[in-house]
């Protein structure tokens, strides 16, 4: 069964159409880049998959389950913003994830935190912006989920942190799960992707594998992206 499936998915905000007629299937075991310029509907799609928005029309499902309480068990979501409560200590954050998610691998998370030199007593509030983002990513990737939805995981971080984030993703995801990474920084993620989906003004304009693009067009996905979205 598809890890993520959309059928004729539309989302309008008032009169503005954020997504129009998106049909998409993402299979388990694939790492998929959801690529498009700002405002192309990437975040809207991810929010719909998380049940944070309701579709105007069409359907979306995760492993055959409609977004909601039951799909949340299967999805590990990294929001664009840092959403972990700042009053918590790292240890309390581990408690929180462990309490709510049965697939949370606490020991893996602890190891990654200690690798970064974050003591369990440190409060999120006391961490730098970059460390907070890393801590959140560690929580998300420590789950053995069926679908990972990572919204702009490498936006606004320095190159070293970017490398850390990408290696944390590929080093920790459940190989039977699908990973969706939304970003506009294609050159950086290209190497870790199996497939790409180009979104433009709410529509899917290209669906291909990275190898296919490189083999058939003889150019990187980044170069193709620049060509497709030339201003």
């Amino acid at each position: 069964m598809e890890a993520l499936r959309c059928d004729g998915l539309c989302k309008q905000y008032g009169k503005i159409e954020a997504l129009s007629d998106v049909s998409l299937q993402i299979e388990p075991g694939r790492i998929v880049g959801l690529l498009g310029p700002n405002g192309s509907g990437k975040t809207t799609l991810i929010k719909l998959a998380n049940g944070l928005l309701t579709p105007t029309s069409g359907a979306i499902s995760i492993c055959g389950v409609a977004p909601g309480k039951d799909s949340h068990r299967l999805v590990s979501y990294l929001p664009e913003r840092t959403a972990i409560p700042t009053w918590m200590s790292a240890g309390q954050l581990l408690d929180f994830y462990g309490d709510f998610y049965e697939d949370f691998r606490r020991s893996a998370a602890e190891e990654m935190l200690s690798h970064l030199g974050i003591p369990l007593t440190q409060r999120i509030k006391q961490m730098s912006k970059g460390t907070r983002e890393k801590a959140q990513l560690i929580m998300v990737m420590s789950r053995a989920a069926k679908l990972y939805l990572l919204d702009e995981p490498i936006g606004g971080v320095d190159p070293a942190t970017r490398d850390y984030i990408l290696s944390t993703i590929i080093g920790n995801y459940n190989p039977e799960a699908a990973v969706v990474i939304s970003t506009h920084l294609i050159a950086d993620v290209e190497k870790v992707l199996d497939d790409v989906v180009f979104l433009d003004r709410g529509r899917v304009v290209l669906r291909s594998s990275v190898d296919e693009i490189r083999e058939e067009k003889g150019m990187s996905v980044d170069a193709l992206f620049r060509e497709v979205f030339k201003c």
């Binding site: 998380n50 049940g51 068990r73 959403a83 709510f100």
Partner: protein, 270 residues
């Protein structure tokens, strides 16, 4: 899962309320000492210190009351409608559980705040005997009404507790509904939340006055006059509490439906 939500909700709130209760108790003890000794000591410094402790105690009472109230609003707004909402609304729990965890935890803090304030007020009076006396008096009171009306006095206490809880829930839900509606808009979220709170307040008052004027019609008067039952003593009190609880519950239920609907279908996290 509700239990787990409440556990973490208590964790988030206890770190604020706990220290405040401690300050309350310490200033109450201080005031007790000042009443006993410092104020009459004739020593200017002790007089001044005593007065300051008494002022601090008053501020502390005000502080815990305001804080338990502000925390009710802040937790809902911050935890569900701002950035943390991304985390909370993607947990494997239902929106109902989210709202109930917030209501229950707030009600518990309201109750504990009331209890802490009463305890501290007893503490400033001269000695431990007063506190013992209070509880002894309370027991005697219930024993007396139980004996007199042949009804269980503790039943009344329980009913009042239920009314208190329902009242707290209804109060919280009016704020929650206003915030849920206000934050469903793209802009001016906070201002609109305030506006909707007053809209709800006005609507509640309007409807209840409509109901009251509905009671004040000849037909209703006739109906009531023809009713052939009588309530006496405790039975009347029971009925009164039950009616009040019911009305408050209906009020709360309306806001509950609004809150859940907007959180489920009109959530608009930035």
């Amino acid at each position: 899962m509700l239990r787990k939500l409440m556990k973490h909700e208590f964790r988030a709130t206890a770190r604020v309320m706990g220290p405040l209760y401690l300050v309350l108790i310490i200033t109450a003890l201080g005031t007790n000492l000042s009443v006993r000794g410092m104020a009459d000591s004739g020593n200017l410094f002790l007089n001044l210190l005593g007065a300051m402790v008494a002022v601090a105690f008053t501020v502390a009472i005000l502080g815990v009351c305001l804080m338990s109230f502000a925390l009710m609003i802040q937790r809902f707004h911050h935890n569900l409608l701002r950035d943390e909402g991304y985390l909370m609304f993607t947990l494997p729990v239902s929106v109902h559980q989210q709202v109930w965890s917030k209501i229950i935890v707030s009600a518990v803090w309201f109750f504990l705040t009331g209890a802490a304030v009463m305890l501290s007020l007893m503490m400033i009076s001269l000695d431990v005997g007063v506190i013992q006396g209070f509880f002894r008096g309370l027991r005697a009171f219930f024993q007396a009404i139980t004996a007199y009306y042949a009804l269980n006095g503790t039943a009344i206490l329980l009913e009042l507790l239920v009314l208190f809880f329902v009242g707290c829930a209804a109060l919280c839900l009016q704020f929650y509904a206003a915030m849920a509606v206000g934050n469903s808009f793209a802009n001016h979220k906070t201002a609109l939340s305030v506006v909707f709170f007053f809209v709800f307040q006005f609507a509640t008052q309007f409807i209840s006055s409509l109901l009251l004027s509905g009671l004040d019609t000849p037909g209703m008067a006739q109906f009531l006059a023809n009713l052939d039952f009588q309530l006496r003593g405790m039975a009347a009190i029971h009925a009164g509490i039950a009616l009040m609880t019911l009305l408050t519950a209906i009020d709360g239920a309306v806001f509950y439906v609004i809150t859940v609907y907007f959180l489920k279908n009109r959530l608009n996290l930035e």
